[in-house]
């Protein structure tokens, strides 16, 4: 580990390989790591990815762009209703989608990051979510055993970050970024604002630098891009990294 984890975008993304499982923070555009996703779009040889993420972005912006480019084999997710293309890709057989209740997805990633094998949740009992899962009764209540998820790489976005990878988020952009930052072998954080060591309040840090391997500067344009009125999908010329 280096003391200063700040790295140029393309060097940071050179860690990625085809076939990897990638955990991604964000919630339908809020806190989505768009700089890193846009960087991934340009890596022409990257494919067969499995994505762990709450959703695929918003309309045509976010992880759905990787799916459109045929880079994704499978999504482990909770909601794809904001990205109509995902259902299309699924129906055509190009994409496998595994739906999890959102709280279950969070717990499974937390287990993966926190050394736990799984959790017992009442959520999903009596629904299709229970298919293939072990049911365990504790004190007369039936729970599903939901097992840990762990990724090769996680990508997250924060509002502030320091050289060591300490992160702070802003408003509802915190969401899944904190848990995704814990559940991978290698974690890349993009930060909208970069600070020197000691500039962030030790009491207010929301992801500790111990979890972060690489810090990349966000493209500041994304920080003000409105997810409620997302940019139109434009198929930019793909440049191989």
């Amino acid at each position: 580990m280096r003391q200063n984890k700040v790295t140029p975008l393309e060097e940071a993304l050179s860690y990625l390989e085809s076939g990897m499982t990638i955990a991604v923070g964000g919630f339908i555009g809020q806190g989505d790591p768009l700089t890193l996703i846009d960087g991934m779009k340009r890596i022409r040889h990257l494919k067969d990815l499995t994505l762990i993420a709450n959703d695929a972005g918003y309309r045509e912006r976010g992880l759905v762009e990787l799916v459109r480019r045929g880079m994704v084999r499978k999504m482990i997710t909770s909601h794809v209703g904001t990205t109509p293309y995902i259902a299309e890709a699924m129906n055509s057989g190009a994409l496998e989608v595994e739906l999890n209740p959102q709280g279950t997805l969070v717990e499974r990633c937390r287990c993966g990051g926190g050394g736990l094998g799984g959790v017992l949740t009442p959520v999903g009992v009596g629904t299709e979510v229970e298919n293939g899962k072990q049911k365990i009764e504790v004190d007369g209540q039936v729970y599903l055993l939901e097992t840990a998820l762990h990724a090769d790489v996680a990508i997250v976005r924060a509002h502030k970050g320091d050289w060591r990878g300490n992160l702070m988020y802003r408003g509802t952009s915190r969401n899944h970024n904190t848990v995704m930052a814990t559940c991978a072998d290698h974690v890349i954080a993009e930060v909208e604002n970069l600070y020197c060591m000691g500039e962030l309040d030790a009491e207010a840090i929301q992801t500790q630098g111990i979890y972060i391997d690489t810090v990349v500067r966000s493209d500041l344009l994304y920080a003000v891009e409105r997810p409620v009125e997302p940019a139109h999908y434009t198929d930019l010329p793909i440049k191989e990294v």
Partner: protein, 221 residues
């Protein structure tokens, strides 16, 4: 005359009592905020990580990092807070919310709902709905009484994949209010202006009983 959705939201708002912590689902339930009585103090949660939502920001003052689970811009009232999804879903599953109001595709007489996919037609995903329905102390389902093709949305048994089984406490439509205790059948407690008990029976497929003190012309229009 009010739209069906407005009638439902207006009636649902009457279920809010002082001091409740409440999550309003995407779509129709969000409208409830417009009809909350001014003198009732209710704390609204959104599952993507905020508590104590205030009114929608003024046009042009929306902030990219302040939005609800439907991606609508929000403000926070004094005493509000932001938190991550780990915290949010412990709050939801752990029974810390007094109520959740949700829409659905189908609801049935066993207190089950279907809201996250229509096989062969629509794939949305359950998002936080399964957690909300299992975790909140009281589950209110808001739905139009009949589908566009005229069939009842209050069914004997849901035919789409379930969001949760046996969790619904109250159903509010533009025509009626049904309540139940867990494991029991629904009881018709209110009928809206313009409908008779027979009208409700004709457009309701699920089994239910009629309360002794059922209120006619209870709300609507």
């Amino acid at each position: 005359m009010a739209s069906n959705k407005e009638t439902i939201a207006r009636r649902a708002a009457l279920e809010l009592h002082d001091g409740m912590y409440v999550n309003l689902g995407i779509g129709l339930p969000t409208l409830i905020a417009n009809f909350m009585p001014r003198d009732v103090y209710v704390v609204l949660q959104t599952e993507n990580g905020a508590l104590h939502l205030g009114p929608r920001p003024d046009p042009g003052c929306e902030d990219v990092d302040r939005a609800n689970a439907g991606n609508d811009p929000i403000t926070l009232l004094p005493g509000g807070s932001y938190f991550d999804s780990m915290t949010s879903f412990c709050m939801i599953r752990g029974g810390h919310l007094d109520a959740t109001f949700l829409g659905c595709f189908q609801v049935d007489g066993e207190g089950s709902i279907a809201s996250y996919m229509i096989p062969g037609a629509r794939l949305a995903g359950m998002g936080g709905a399964m957690d909300l329905v299992v975790g909140a102390k009281h589950v209110f389902i808001l739905t139009e009484h009949v589908a566009k093709d005229g069939t009842s949305k209050l069914m004997k048994r849901c035919t789409f994949p379930l969001t949760a089984a046996d969790q619904v406490d109250v159903i509010i439509t533009e025509r009626s209010v049904f309540r139940r205790d867990k494991g029991q059948p629904f009881v018709l407690t209110e009928v809206a202006t313009g409908y008779s008990l027979d009208d409700i029976a004709a457009c309701t497929d699920m089994a239910y009983t009629v309360a002794d003190d059922v209120k006619l012309e209870a709300f609507g229009r």
